[in-house]
Amino acid sequence: MQWGVAAVTDRQDSESYEKRLEAVRPRLLAFARLQLGDQHTAEDLVQDALLAAYESLDRFRGQAKFETWVFGILRHKLLDEIRSRKRLQPISLNQDDYPDIEHFFAANEMWERAEIPQPWHEPEQALEKDHFWQVFDICVFHLPTNTARVFTLRELLGMDTDEICDSLGISEQNCWVILHRARLKLRACLEKSWFLNEEAS
């Protein structure tokens, strides 16, 4: 899907941008709710981000993917909100919060045959596709909730592990364990759902 550059002024295009913004709303909401754990604040924040996006459509020059751009606006609003709270709802971790990665490795700690990482074909090209990021987000939301929270704080909001530990009240060691498992799960999910799925690419 290509979005024109100066075409934003065009009424028809403006309407299609509106539709596009509405289409991305559920994904933004899922993301905000994951971080804030509070439906109302999440809805307000997403509404705020969508309005900001709509008002600055003329600043969207098409050099970024449209969804990435809207996502970036939400990201800043989320970071402000999280930092203003100083401390997020602390999480207490039990076994269910840690994704299970036991099946990736055999008893001797080497890769299980069926789980050996496979070559990925032209991964860079995937980044250019909005659909890749949809699959990516689905894979993230398949992680246990607290794992998905830690992963998105780290990789999508760009916080350091010590800041994450402070706001969530967990040890840095815990953080590393969670991120390790999250990344292995995500790698396997992307491989299965995108890179080895020919229809998708």
Partner: protein, 61 residues
């Protein structure tokens, strides 16, 4: 030296903190011998870079 599991722990942690010299050498040694982990390492780096670019893409406009 043969634990792929431990190797994936270190390749993940090197994204979040500087590894100690000992850890770096261990990981380097393992990756030299293990193409499966080399592949995994590249893919985890790719995922991290992809998230960075996604953030930058959002910031750029």
């Amino acid at each position: 030296m043969m634990s792929c599991r431990h190797s994936t722990e270190l390749m993940s942690q090197k994204i979040d903190r500087p590894l100690t010299l000992k850890e770096r050498l261990w990981l380097k040694g393992h990756l030299l011998m293990c193409f499966r982990c080399r592949r995994c390492d590249q893919q985890l780096d790719f995922i991290h870079q992809a998230c960075q670019k996604r953030k930058e893409g959002g910031d750029a406009s």
